[in-house]
Symmetry: C2
Subunit: 211 residues, 2 copies
Protein backbone atom coordinates (compact mmCIF):
# COMPACT_ATOMS: atom_id res chain seq x y z
CA UNK A 1 0.00 0.00 0.00
CA UNK A 2 2.81 2.41 0.86
CA UNK A 3 4.61 2.14 -2.45
CA UNK A 4 4.99 4.96 -4.96
CA UNK A 5 4.02 7.60 -2.45
CA UNK A 6 5.97 10.81 -2.86
CA UNK A 7 8.05 12.24 -0.04
CA UNK A 8 5.91 15.37 0.06
CA UNK A 9 2.73 13.36 0.64
CA UNK A 10 4.48 11.46 3.42
CA UNK A 11 5.57 14.79 4.87
CA UNK A 12 1.94 15.90 5.04
CA UNK A 13 0.51 12.70 6.55
CA UNK A 14 1.50 13.48 10.18
CA UNK A 15 -0.51 16.66 9.96
CA UNK A 16 -3.58 14.84 8.62
CA UNK A 17 -3.12 12.36 11.40
CA UNK A 18 -3.06 15.06 14.09
CA UNK A 19 -6.12 16.80 12.66
CA UNK A 20 -8.11 13.60 12.39
CA UNK A 21 -7.09 12.74 15.96
CA UNK A 22 -8.48 16.07 17.14
CA UNK A 23 -11.71 15.50 15.21
CA UNK A 24 -12.02 12.05 16.71
CA UNK A 25 -11.49 13.48 20.20
CA UNK A 26 -14.27 15.99 19.59
CA UNK A 27 -16.63 13.22 18.52
CA UNK A 28 -16.73 14.04 14.78
CA UNK A 29 -17.56 10.87 12.82
CA UNK A 30 -17.27 12.01 9.25
CA UNK A 31 -15.94 15.00 7.36
CA UNK A 32 -15.96 16.21 3.76
CA UNK A 33 -12.72 17.07 2.00
CA UNK A 34 -14.06 20.64 1.85
CA UNK A 35 -14.47 20.90 5.63
CA UNK A 36 -11.14 19.20 6.28
CA UNK A 37 -9.45 21.57 3.82
CA UNK A 38 -10.91 24.63 5.53
CA UNK A 39 -9.68 23.49 8.92
CA UNK A 40 -6.25 22.61 7.62
CA UNK A 41 -5.75 25.56 5.32
CA UNK A 42 -4.99 23.46 2.24
CA UNK A 43 -7.14 23.01 -0.88
CA UNK A 44 -9.80 20.30 -1.01
CA UNK A 45 -8.26 19.00 -4.21
CA UNK A 46 -4.88 18.64 -2.47
CA UNK A 47 -6.53 16.56 0.23
CA UNK A 48 -8.35 14.34 -2.29
CA UNK A 49 -5.15 13.93 -4.27
CA UNK A 50 -3.07 13.08 -1.20
CA UNK A 51 -5.53 10.56 0.15
CA UNK A 52 -6.05 9.03 -3.28
CA UNK A 53 -2.42 7.92 -3.13
CA UNK A 54 -3.59 5.29 -0.68
CA UNK A 55 -6.56 4.13 -2.69
CA UNK A 56 -8.80 6.96 -1.45
CA UNK A 57 -10.96 6.47 1.58
CA UNK A 58 -13.64 8.99 0.71
CA UNK A 59 -17.10 8.29 -0.62
CA UNK A 60 -18.96 10.65 -2.93
CA UNK A 61 -21.58 12.60 -0.98
CA UNK A 62 -20.51 11.10 2.34
CA UNK A 63 -17.00 12.33 2.85
CA UNK A 64 -14.39 10.60 4.95
CA UNK A 65 -15.05 8.35 7.89
CA UNK A 66 -12.78 10.01 10.47
CA UNK A 67 -12.00 6.94 12.56
CA UNK A 68 -11.32 4.75 9.53
CA UNK A 69 -9.08 7.32 7.87
CA UNK A 70 -7.23 7.94 11.14
CA UNK A 71 -6.59 4.22 11.46
CA UNK A 72 -5.43 3.90 7.86
CA UNK A 73 -2.98 6.81 8.11
CA UNK A 74 -1.70 5.41 11.37
CA UNK A 75 -1.09 2.07 9.64
CA UNK A 76 0.64 3.71 6.66
CA UNK A 77 2.95 5.64 8.96
CA UNK A 78 3.57 2.47 10.97
CA UNK A 79 2.47 4.13 14.22
CA UNK A 80 1.24 0.86 15.67
CA UNK A 81 4.87 -0.16 15.95
CA UNK A 82 6.62 0.06 19.28
CA UNK A 83 10.16 0.78 18.13
CA UNK A 84 12.42 1.12 21.14
CA UNK A 85 14.20 4.47 21.35
CA UNK A 86 16.91 6.05 23.48
CA UNK A 87 17.67 9.71 24.05
CA UNK A 88 21.32 10.76 23.98
CA UNK A 89 21.81 14.21 25.49
CA UNK A 90 19.27 15.34 28.06
CA UNK A 91 19.65 19.06 27.45
CA UNK A 92 16.90 21.55 26.64
CA UNK A 93 15.72 19.95 23.42
CA UNK A 94 15.83 16.46 24.88
CA UNK A 95 13.82 17.65 27.85
CA UNK A 96 11.25 19.45 25.74
CA UNK A 97 10.78 16.41 23.53
CA UNK A 98 10.46 13.88 26.33
CA UNK A 99 8.09 16.05 28.33
CA UNK A 100 5.72 17.02 25.55
CA UNK A 101 5.67 14.10 23.17
CA UNK A 102 3.49 11.08 23.33
CA UNK A 103 6.08 8.64 21.99
CA UNK A 104 3.69 5.71 22.20
CA UNK A 105 1.27 7.39 19.77
CA UNK A 106 4.14 8.19 17.41
CA UNK A 107 5.37 4.61 17.01
CA UNK A 108 8.08 4.62 19.67
CA UNK A 109 8.77 3.61 23.23
CA UNK A 110 11.44 5.59 25.10
CA UNK A 111 13.49 3.09 27.10
CA UNK A 112 16.69 4.92 28.07
CA UNK A 113 18.24 8.37 28.51
CA UNK A 114 21.99 9.13 28.51
CA UNK A 115 23.91 12.28 29.38
CA UNK A 116 27.55 12.79 30.28
CA UNK A 117 26.84 15.65 32.69
CA UNK A 118 27.49 14.26 36.22
CA UNK A 119 24.73 16.54 37.53
CA UNK A 120 22.20 14.88 35.22
CA UNK A 121 23.25 11.25 35.71
CA UNK A 122 20.82 9.69 38.17
CA UNK A 123 18.08 12.30 37.53
CA UNK A 124 14.58 11.03 36.79
CA UNK A 125 12.95 12.10 33.53
CA UNK A 126 9.64 10.52 32.52
CA UNK A 127 10.18 7.60 34.92
CA UNK A 128 13.60 6.91 33.42
CA UNK A 129 16.89 7.43 35.24
CA UNK A 130 19.51 9.34 33.26
CA UNK A 131 22.44 6.98 32.63
CA UNK A 132 26.16 7.47 32.13
CA UNK A 133 27.17 7.06 28.43
CA UNK A 134 29.84 4.63 29.68
CA UNK A 135 27.00 2.12 29.99
CA UNK A 136 25.54 2.82 26.55
CA UNK A 137 27.21 -0.05 24.70
CA UNK A 138 26.08 -2.64 27.21
CA UNK A 139 22.56 -1.17 27.34
CA UNK A 140 22.07 -0.93 23.57
CA UNK A 141 23.41 -4.42 22.92
CA UNK A 142 21.10 -5.85 25.58
CA UNK A 143 17.90 -3.84 24.91
CA UNK A 144 18.36 -3.49 21.13
CA UNK A 145 16.67 -0.12 20.58
CA UNK A 146 15.98 0.70 16.92
CA UNK A 147 16.32 4.46 17.19
CA UNK A 148 18.33 7.12 18.98
CA UNK A 149 17.38 10.75 19.46
CA UNK A 150 20.57 12.79 19.30
CA UNK A 151 20.75 16.11 21.06
CA UNK A 152 24.46 16.23 21.66
CA UNK A 153 26.85 19.05 20.68
CA UNK A 154 27.39 19.45 16.96
CA UNK A 155 31.12 18.72 17.27
CA UNK A 156 30.57 15.17 18.52
CA UNK A 157 27.35 14.11 16.79
CA UNK A 158 28.94 12.13 13.97
CA UNK A 159 31.21 10.30 16.39
CA UNK A 160 28.27 9.42 18.68
CA UNK A 161 26.21 8.26 15.69
CA UNK A 162 29.00 6.02 14.39
CA UNK A 163 29.38 4.51 17.84
CA UNK A 164 25.64 3.79 18.09
CA UNK A 165 25.53 2.34 14.57
CA UNK A 166 28.32 -0.04 15.57
CA UNK A 167 26.12 -1.20 18.49
CA UNK A 168 23.23 -1.87 16.11
CA UNK A 169 21.14 1.34 16.03
CA UNK A 170 19.45 1.83 12.65
CA UNK A 171 17.65 5.17 12.90
CA UNK A 172 18.24 8.66 14.25
CA UNK A 173 16.22 11.71 15.08
CA UNK A 174 18.95 14.32 14.97
CA UNK A 175 18.69 17.69 16.72
CA UNK A 176 22.39 18.41 16.76
CA UNK A 177 22.65 21.29 14.29
CA UNK A 178 24.87 19.19 12.02
CA UNK A 179 23.88 16.75 9.31
CA UNK A 180 24.72 13.13 9.96
CA UNK A 181 26.84 11.30 7.44
CA UNK A 182 25.69 7.69 7.54
CA UNK A 183 25.39 4.83 5.13
CA UNK A 184 22.26 3.80 3.24
CA UNK A 185 21.14 1.29 5.83
CA UNK A 186 20.54 3.99 8.40
CA UNK A 187 17.50 6.26 8.34
CA UNK A 188 17.80 9.80 9.61
CA UNK A 189 15.39 12.63 10.30
CA UNK A 190 17.29 15.88 10.83
CA UNK A 191 15.70 18.75 12.67
CA UNK A 192 17.26 22.14 12.04
CA UNK A 193 15.44 24.77 14.03
CA UNK A 194 17.41 27.47 12.21
CA UNK A 195 15.94 26.31 8.89
CA UNK A 196 12.48 27.13 10.21
CA UNK A 197 13.66 30.64 10.99
CA UNK A 198 14.94 30.97 7.41
CA UNK A 199 11.64 29.72 5.97
CA UNK A 200 9.76 32.20 8.11
CA UNK A 201 12.12 34.95 6.99
CA UNK A 202 11.31 34.05 3.39
CA UNK A 203 7.57 34.14 4.07
CA UNK A 204 7.85 37.56 5.73
CA UNK A 205 9.96 38.96 2.86
CA UNK A 206 7.48 37.57 0.36
CA UNK A 207 4.51 39.07 2.23
CA UNK A 208 6.36 42.42 2.40
CA UNK A 209 7.07 42.30 -1.33
CA UNK A 210 3.36 41.81 -2.10
CA UNK A 211 2.42 45.04 -0.32
CA UNK B 1 13.10 36.76 -8.80
CA UNK B 2 11.25 34.93 -6.07
CA UNK B 3 8.03 34.43 -8.01
CA UNK B 4 6.65 31.07 -9.13
CA UNK B 5 8.95 29.13 -6.86
CA UNK B 6 7.28 26.08 -5.40
CA UNK B 7 6.99 25.60 -1.65
CA UNK B 8 9.10 22.45 -1.81
CA UNK B 9 12.01 24.30 -3.45
CA UNK B 10 11.75 26.99 -0.77
CA UNK B 11 11.77 24.25 1.85
CA UNK B 12 15.06 22.95 0.49
CA UNK B 13 16.81 26.32 0.20
CA UNK B 14 17.84 26.59 3.88
CA UNK B 15 19.69 23.32 3.53
CA UNK B 16 21.54 24.50 0.41
CA UNK B 17 22.36 27.64 2.30
CA UNK B 18 23.83 25.76 5.25
CA UNK B 19 25.88 23.48 3.02
CA UNK B 20 27.25 26.34 0.97
CA UNK B 21 28.08 28.19 4.19
CA UNK B 22 30.11 25.19 5.35
CA UNK B 23 31.91 24.97 2.00
CA UNK B 24 32.68 28.67 2.19
CA UNK B 25 34.08 28.24 5.70
CA UNK B 26 36.34 25.47 4.47
CA UNK B 27 37.65 27.67 1.67
CA UNK B 28 35.92 25.89 -1.24
CA UNK B 29 35.45 28.36 -4.10
CA UNK B 30 33.48 26.34 -6.61
CA UNK B 31 31.60 23.08 -6.71
CA UNK B 32 29.93 20.96 -9.38
CA UNK B 33 26.31 19.91 -9.01
CA UNK B 34 27.62 16.33 -8.85
CA UNK B 35 29.87 17.05 -5.85
CA UNK B 36 27.20 19.12 -4.12
CA UNK B 37 24.68 16.33 -4.70
CA UNK B 38 26.99 13.71 -3.19
CA UNK B 39 27.52 15.78 -0.08
CA UNK B 40 23.84 16.56 0.33
CA UNK B 41 22.47 13.15 -0.53
CA UNK B 42 20.15 14.41 -3.28
CA UNK B 43 20.43 13.87 -7.04
CA UNK B 44 22.48 16.24 -9.18
CA UNK B 45 19.46 16.77 -11.42
CA UNK B 46 17.38 17.81 -8.40
CA UNK B 47 20.01 20.41 -7.53
CA UNK B 48 20.18 21.75 -11.08
CA UNK B 49 16.40 21.86 -11.25
CA UNK B 50 16.09 23.65 -7.89
CA UNK B 51 18.73 26.25 -8.67
CA UNK B 52 17.39 26.78 -12.18
CA UNK B 53 14.23 28.15 -10.55
CA UNK B 54 16.29 31.23 -9.79
CA UNK B 55 17.79 31.59 -13.22
CA UNK B 56 20.53 29.01 -12.58
CA UNK B 57 23.88 30.12 -11.28
CA UNK B 58 25.93 27.27 -12.67
CA UNK B 59 28.21 27.32 -15.67
CA UNK B 60 28.82 24.30 -17.87
CA UNK B 61 32.20 22.75 -17.02
CA UNK B 62 32.82 25.14 -14.17
CA UNK B 63 30.12 24.36 -11.66
CA UNK B 64 28.79 26.78 -9.11
CA UNK B 65 30.65 29.67 -7.59
CA UNK B 66 30.08 28.94 -3.90
CA UNK B 67 30.23 32.49 -2.59
CA UNK B 68 27.98 33.85 -5.32
CA UNK B 69 25.39 31.10 -4.90
CA UNK B 70 25.48 31.52 -1.11
CA UNK B 71 24.83 35.23 -1.51
CA UNK B 72 22.01 34.68 -4.00
CA UNK B 73 20.21 32.14 -1.82
CA UNK B 74 20.65 34.43 1.16
CA UNK B 75 19.03 37.24 -0.85
CA UNK B 76 16.16 35.01 -2.02
CA UNK B 77 15.44 33.93 1.54
CA UNK B 78 15.69 37.54 2.69
CA UNK B 79 18.36 36.71 5.27
CA UNK B 80 19.93 40.14 5.00
CA UNK B 81 16.85 41.47 6.76
CA UNK B 82 16.99 42.27 10.43
CA UNK B 83 13.42 41.52 11.43
CA UNK B 84 12.97 42.16 15.14
CA UNK B 85 11.75 39.13 17.06
CA UNK B 86 10.57 38.36 20.58
CA UNK B 87 10.45 35.03 22.38
CA UNK B 88 7.33 34.28 24.42
CA UNK B 89 7.89 31.39 26.80
CA UNK B 90 11.45 30.79 27.97
CA UNK B 91 11.07 27.07 28.62
CA UNK B 92 13.25 24.28 27.26
CA UNK B 93 12.56 24.89 23.60
CA UNK B 94 12.93 28.64 23.95
CA UNK B 95 16.23 28.14 25.73
CA UNK B 96 17.54 25.65 23.17
CA UNK B 97 16.63 27.97 20.32
CA UNK B 98 18.12 31.10 21.82
CA UNK B 99 21.32 29.36 22.87
CA UNK B 100 22.06 27.54 19.64
CA UNK B 101 20.71 29.72 16.89
CA UNK B 102 22.50 32.53 15.16
CA UNK B 103 19.41 34.69 14.67
CA UNK B 104 21.38 37.39 12.89
CA UNK B 105 22.38 34.94 10.13
CA UNK B 106 18.77 33.77 9.82
CA UNK B 107 17.26 37.20 9.14
CA UNK B 108 16.24 38.10 12.67
CA UNK B 109 17.32 40.06 15.71
CA UNK B 110 16.07 38.83 19.08
CA UNK B 111 15.13 41.90 21.11
CA UNK B 112 12.97 40.62 23.97
CA UNK B 113 12.07 37.54 26.01
CA UNK B 114 8.89 37.07 28.06
CA UNK B 115 7.87 34.41 30.56
CA UNK B 116 5.21 34.44 33.25
CA UNK B 117 7.21 32.27 35.65
CA UNK B 118 8.30 34.59 38.53
CA UNK B 119 11.50 32.54 38.85
CA UNK B 120 12.42 33.34 35.26
CA UNK B 121 11.51 37.03 35.22
CA UNK B 122 14.74 39.01 35.63
CA UNK B 123 16.97 36.14 34.44
CA UNK B 124 19.55 36.92 31.76
CA UNK B 125 19.42 34.90 28.53
CA UNK B 126 21.66 35.93 25.66
CA UNK B 127 22.18 39.39 27.15
CA UNK B 128 18.43 39.90 27.41
CA UNK B 129 16.53 40.13 30.68
CA UNK B 130 13.40 37.95 30.82
CA UNK B 131 10.40 40.27 31.13
CA UNK B 132 6.95 39.94 32.68
CA UNK B 133 4.23 39.44 30.02
CA UNK B 134 2.35 42.31 31.73
CA UNK B 135 4.82 44.59 29.92
CA UNK B 136 4.41 42.89 26.55
CA UNK B 137 1.85 45.30 25.06
CA UNK B 138 3.88 48.37 25.92
CA UNK B 139 7.11 46.74 24.68
CA UNK B 140 5.67 45.48 21.38
CA UNK B 141 3.95 48.77 20.58
CA UNK B 142 7.18 50.66 21.26
CA UNK B 143 9.75 48.31 19.66
CA UNK B 144 7.49 47.03 16.86
CA UNK B 145 8.93 43.52 16.44
CA UNK B 146 7.76 41.72 13.29
CA UNK B 147 7.87 38.20 14.66
CA UNK B 148 7.19 36.26 17.84
CA UNK B 149 8.50 32.81 18.72
CA UNK B 150 5.81 31.05 20.69
CA UNK B 151 6.76 28.32 23.11
CA UNK B 152 3.83 28.64 25.47
CA UNK B 153 1.49 25.85 26.58
CA UNK B 154 -0.79 24.52 23.87
CA UNK B 155 -3.93 25.57 25.78
CA UNK B 156 -3.09 29.28 25.61
CA UNK B 157 -1.22 29.61 22.31
CA UNK B 158 -4.13 30.89 20.24
CA UNK B 159 -5.03 33.46 22.88
CA UNK B 160 -1.41 34.68 23.11
CA UNK B 161 -1.18 34.87 19.32
CA UNK B 162 -4.41 36.89 19.03
CA UNK B 163 -3.12 39.28 21.68
CA UNK B 164 0.21 39.76 19.85
CA UNK B 165 -1.57 40.23 16.49
CA UNK B 166 -3.64 42.99 18.08
CA UNK B 167 -0.37 44.72 19.11
CA UNK B 168 0.91 44.52 15.54
CA UNK B 169 2.90 41.25 15.26
CA UNK B 170 2.71 39.77 11.77
CA UNK B 171 4.62 36.49 11.95
CA UNK B 172 5.03 33.52 14.27
CA UNK B 173 7.40 30.66 14.76
CA UNK B 174 5.17 28.31 16.71
CA UNK B 175 6.49 25.50 18.91
CA UNK B 176 3.34 25.10 20.96
CA UNK B 177 2.10 21.69 19.81
CA UNK B 178 -1.10 23.29 18.49
CA UNK B 179 -1.75 24.85 15.11
CA UNK B 180 -2.40 28.56 15.11
CA UNK B 181 -5.61 29.82 13.60
CA UNK B 182 -4.83 33.24 12.17
CA UNK B 183 -5.94 35.36 9.27
CA UNK B 184 -4.26 35.63 5.88
CA UNK B 185 -2.18 38.65 6.83
CA UNK B 186 -0.19 36.66 9.35
CA UNK B 187 2.57 34.23 8.39
CA UNK B 188 3.19 31.19 10.52
CA UNK B 189 5.80 28.47 10.64
CA UNK B 190 4.64 25.60 12.86
CA UNK B 191 7.13 23.19 14.35
CA UNK B 192 5.72 19.89 15.48
CA UNK B 193 8.46 17.74 16.92
CA UNK B 194 6.05 14.80 17.09
CA UNK B 195 5.58 14.95 13.31
CA UNK B 196 9.30 14.27 12.90
CA UNK B 197 8.92 11.17 15.04
CA UNK B 198 6.07 9.99 12.79
CA UNK B 199 8.13 10.59 9.64
CA UNK B 200 10.98 8.65 11.13
CA UNK B 201 8.60 5.86 12.10
CA UNK B 202 7.44 5.72 8.47
CA UNK B 203 11.03 5.56 7.21
CA UNK B 204 11.86 2.72 9.61
CA UNK B 205 8.72 0.76 8.64
CA UNK B 206 9.53 1.28 4.97
CA UNK B 207 13.15 0.12 5.45
CA UNK B 208 11.88 -2.92 7.38
CA UNK B 209 9.42 -3.76 4.59
CA UNK B 210 12.21 -3.71 2.01
CA UNK B 211 14.19 -6.39 3.83
Amino acid sequence: MEKNVSASVINRLPRYYRYLGELLNSGVERISSKELSERMGVTASQIRQDLNCFGGFGQQGYGYNVEYLYGEISAILGLNSKYKAILVGAGNIGHALTRNTNFEKRGFELIGIFDNDPQKIGMEIRNLTVMDPKNMKEFVEREKPTMAILSVPRAVVNQVAQELISYGIKAFLNFSYAELSTNDDVVVENIHLGDSLMRLCYKISEADAKK
